[in-house]
Subunit: 349 residues, 2 copies
């Protein structure tokens, strides 16, 4: 009988992405006085002479985070920047600088990389950030992009994930679920193309969904809006992994519970019609789809008059005591426990 010599080895897919980084860095200590906040929020916070510097970084890997068969390189460059800036805005900070590193195989031409950098430059211009560094190297296969963003805020303005209180309102920006459905539409067209390369896809009915997938925008405007409204959220996070998993993050880090109302979740009409066409439940998509890059925040009830009727902000629930748990309240007024089924790159392989 052959013995399994690897019996003590742990497969990475047993942990999620969040569990992995938490596990690997759990015994890392902080020793510099300028380190205000380390791992565990949208971005790290550093203090330099009383001003807060936020720092966040993201990896995008070909075949895991993007598929170049329907993702134009210019859009990819744009998106690589946007997903990072979203984390800066989720700290209620202003993004100021980014570094962009790429590893590419020789399959890519200079012209391809120029298109990628055209997208990076376009995003840097739109969001007013400077590209101040990076590294360019070869890879054995595929394209990997690493973006690091720096932002700044006064210490009073910064919003972390851990400040939500019971009775705070749960608020989301924009609408949810479109990016995931955009990916489903693109995947379907890719399959059609494989069968019949001459088929011209009609993406018009899905234009919003596809744009949300291929050219997402980060909510820089919300940081400005909150300042104008003089609202400082008690906690905030960006929705990259799906509404459900991000609500759970806020609840756990703030040690509160939550009631989320199904009927309040903002959905675009294209999300509703496409869910019907694909025979998908729109609430499930909103809860678990991911990649929306909207902001999820909690605000004090006292601030409700300031945000009421603002088209950018939708109240979708409220926070409760921790012991009440985290629930979705359905249209039928049933309470279902929220579970994290967000997009998990480590389980996709």
């Amino acid at each position: 009988m052959i013995e399994d010599k690897n019996q003590s080895r742990t497969s990475l897919s047993n942990l999620g992405e969040f569990g992995l980084i938490e596990h690997l860095t759990s015994n890392f200590s902080i020793s510099n006085p300028s380190t205000v906040l380390g791992i565990g929020d949208d971005a790290a916070v550093l203090d330099f002479k009383g001003e807060s510097v936020v720092l966040t970084t993201d990896f995008l890997v070909e075949g895991v985070h993007f598929d170049l068969s329907y993702m134009p390189l210019k859009h990819l460059g744009y998106k690589a920047v946007v997903v990072n800036l979203s984390d800066v805005y989720a700290m209620n900070a202003t993004a100021t600088q980014i570094t962009v590193s790429i590893a590419v195989s020789n399959r890519f031409t200079l012209e391809a990389l120029e298109a990628l950098y055209d997208g990076i430059r376009a995003a840097a211009t739109v969001y007013g950030v400077d590209v101040v560094g990076g590294d360019t190297t070869s890879s054995v296969s595929g394209l990997t992009i690493s973006v690091t963003a720096v932002g700044r805020a006064s210490a009073n303005d910064l919003v972390q994930r851990n400040g939500a209180k019971p009775n705070d309102l749960l608020v989301v920006t924009g609408d949810i679920g479109a990016a995931y459905l955009g990916l489903q539409v693109l995947e379907r067209e890719k399959e059609v193309f494989k069968v019949n390369p001459n088929n011209q896809p009609d993406l018009d009915p899905y234009s919003y969904l596809v744009e949300r997938q291929l050219k997402p925008e980060a909510r820089k405007d919300i940081v400005a809006l909150l300042r104008d409204l003089t609202v400082r959220p008690t906690s905030m996070i960006d929705i990259s992994d799906g509404l459900s998993s991000e609500i759970i993050h806020l609840c756990k880090q703030s040690q509160v519970g939550c009631d989320l109302y199904e009927e309040k979740i903002p959905l675009d009409p294209q999300v509703i019609s496409t869910c019907e066409e694909f025979n998908l439940d729109s609430t499930t998509i909103a809860l678990s789809g991911g990649e929306d890059y909207e902001l999820l925040m909690t605000i004090s009830q006292n601030d409700f008059p300031k945000i009421k009727a603002n088209p950018n902000l939708t109240v979708i629930g409220h926070m409760t005591e921790s012991k009440s748990g985290m629930h979705l309240v359905t249209r039928a007024a049933e309470k279902i426990p929220l579970t994290a089924q967000g997009w998990n790159s480590l389980k996709n392989q």
Copy 2:
């Protein structure tokens, strides 16, 4: 006849790594007042309330920058941090924080990543930096590590690459060439192992070389030494791509020439003996080997008494007018133009 439709495409290997990033970012503009220095030095410089923040990032790709058949994961984690910190020290700054992102295929177990992070934590402890963030994701194949380092300095202490003046002394720390030879020794043992897996390599005669390759250190001590000696270099760079190519960087960015004296280049006895054994020219190895992570700087002649006889600092030449060009002065007193033959990852594939 089949037309070559790709005739206008440019292969990446036609440009070097440095040429590529320069080309791709040549029309990127800087708009934030806090951006003091963008792409083109060891690190970017940001200004936050009068304090300079330096920011630098590096990619390490399996099969390009490291080979796990002789690079233990703990050493790899250590080295990934060290090569980044070296860029911070090359700005004459103090490293304070790092972020570490990894993309891994499912070939890696949790225990393997724990070994990697043990090395990262060891380096963070030795160099006194805090790990404040990162991203962990899956890859289609292999391991990719991206490290970003943050440092700080007063604006007066910062040293860029562009301040060298004619008659300044060219100074290098430590000794050169060992890391490259360490790699040659390890590659040879790998070939021996393929033929006879039971062969036990005797690496004792190469212990220094192998350590310089597998566990390099960054010269944090030099930043402290220069402060103690009250010497502020006029320019500085870290030697990651070989002495020759880094001298050329300093000369071009400072618009000066250089005479480098072959007989002055500091070599460890193991470098000399191993070069003889491998039938390699030690000067060529020192000029083009790379990965030494020593610091190369220029200092004013007035500062010579302060550094004289310091075992960490070796004067290897002096800067000249730009029109004199960049030369190696051989032991036979011949002047040979310096050429950049540094390690170029884009040409390795």
